[in-house]
Amino acid sequence: MGFKKQTLALAAAAALTAATAVPALALENEFHGMFRLKGVVNNFNATPVINSPEGVPYGFYKPDNLDKKVPTATYIEQRARIMYIAKANDDLKLVTHFEIDSRWGDASYTNARNKGGAIGADTVNIETKSVYLDFNCPLTGSNVKVGMQPYYDAFKGVLFDADMAGLLVSRSFGKLDAAAGFFRFDDKGTIPGKKTRDMVAATAKYAVTKDIKVGGAYYFIDDDRSETDTFVRDYIIQQQGDTNTVHNIGVNAEANLGLVTIDGFFLYQFGSLRAPVSRHVSAFAGNVGARGKIGPGTARTEFLYVSGDKGGSSTTNAFQSVQDEHGFYNGNMQLLFRDAYAMTIDNAIVYTSNNKDQGVIAGFIGYDLPITSKLSTSVNAGFAAVAKDNGNKPVNPVTGQANKSSYLGTEVNASVDYKLFDNMTASVRGAYVILGDYYNGVAAGAEDPRDPYMGSLILNYAF
């Protein structure tokens, strides 16, 4: 091959390489993530008063017949999340999201989720949260998300809020946003598709004006898993049949009235918990929230009612929240309700909306005050009571009697946040719960359990 021919061949090869490389070059690689460190001193999380049926440190507060003095637990845990998005163009992308958690000193050289914090590290501990395709359909103009994706209810998370495998199709029709989806929570049988727990979702939101939005949602959850599957881990102290069907239908609204923004929802449930429970379901949850500028800061308030059940009748009024794959965080509580900054160690007095079939009545107030552009504070108070007493109420170990009171307690908490960088914040927090009469004399020797407290230091970096 002469020099000229060689040059031509090289040019052709280069052109070919460039031509095949162009589509790859057009791909936008987007990385995002977060890192959170939480140091805790408390007499609540990861202590004996936490009910942990599976031997892992999470669940409800349960001081029943235990020493009233709770040992102080101190720990530091960390979490990193990495999100990689392969974006072909504005209309097509693959979203992946991973998580790595550990508590300092927990274990090393092992294969286990939420471990790897001990000296040496070297632990296989990466968790996959989401892997889904997100695209705008050129045929219908709708947005489609398909795969393992984050999805939450239209009712402030009282029903479900989790990563789940499914298909969600959304479309805007002028002022109306509508979506429909199918999600498979579980598929437990030996033959795929036979013993599943599935959800069909349909939601809509209509903008009446720029400042007023009303919406509705319907979620049908059909649990066809059999009695051979244990529900102990799934539903924590929540009555369930071997198979269950629950229809959830509700409305929500949000109005910006200038100084104040008000929002809320009402959600009704009906269906059945089949054998061996064999009960109809008739339950509801309702909420009203408001926030607005008062003085230099923002004041917030929320009220939540979730129905509960006494037991013993053919119909249960216990709200059927999806195990602990949900949470109401609008009250900004740290102990009374689940803490928004909780990681692997995650406990609360009202741990699920169902709240051991008792339901809950709760009210919250809070005030966020920016002091400088970098420094801000937040103070919150909240109370909670069970909506209905039932057999899950703790008893006095001496008399064997439960208290008449349904008042669980009142939490006061405060946090001071300092922005070290635009995307990194350090927070110091404190929380204290004055236990209600619901817990009077339920500790060992008919003593009153000590009030729970928590002090925490948090670093948050997101990019």
């Binding site: 995002h32 977060m34 999100m83 602990d324 909780a342 692997t344 160690i345 635009d422």
Partner: protein
């Protein structure tokens, strides 16, 4: 004399421009990516920066963008906020 004047002027011109040129060159020669992790090739916005930028662009309104473009920007803002929510989302449940 004429030659001299041209030379003088040229020298003056150079004396005036050279320092400026030199300063620019020095700045350009500094690799700010290595020095301060700024202006790196392939640098992308953090989510917070992206949200701020989108909010600023949306604020410009119909004077700058068409209704369709504004809708697109709003959609991108929602996507960015959703991404922040997904990353910062609470949750553990011991799992």
């Amino acid at each position: 004399m004429k030659k001299m004047a041209v030379l003088m002027m040229t020298a003056f011109a150079f004396s005036a421009t050279v320092p400026a040129f030199a300063a620019e060159m020095t700045k350009e020669e500094k690799d700010m990516c290595l020095l301060a992790s700024k202006n790196c090739a392939g640098e992308v916005d953090t989510l917070q920066k992206k949200v701020k930028k989108l909010q600023a662009e949306i604020k410009k309104g119909k004077k700058v963008y068409s209704a369709e473009e504004l809708k697109k920007l709003e959609q991108k803002l929602k996507e960015a906020n959703d991404m922040v929510d997904a990353l910062m989302k609470q949750g553990g449940g011991g799992k």
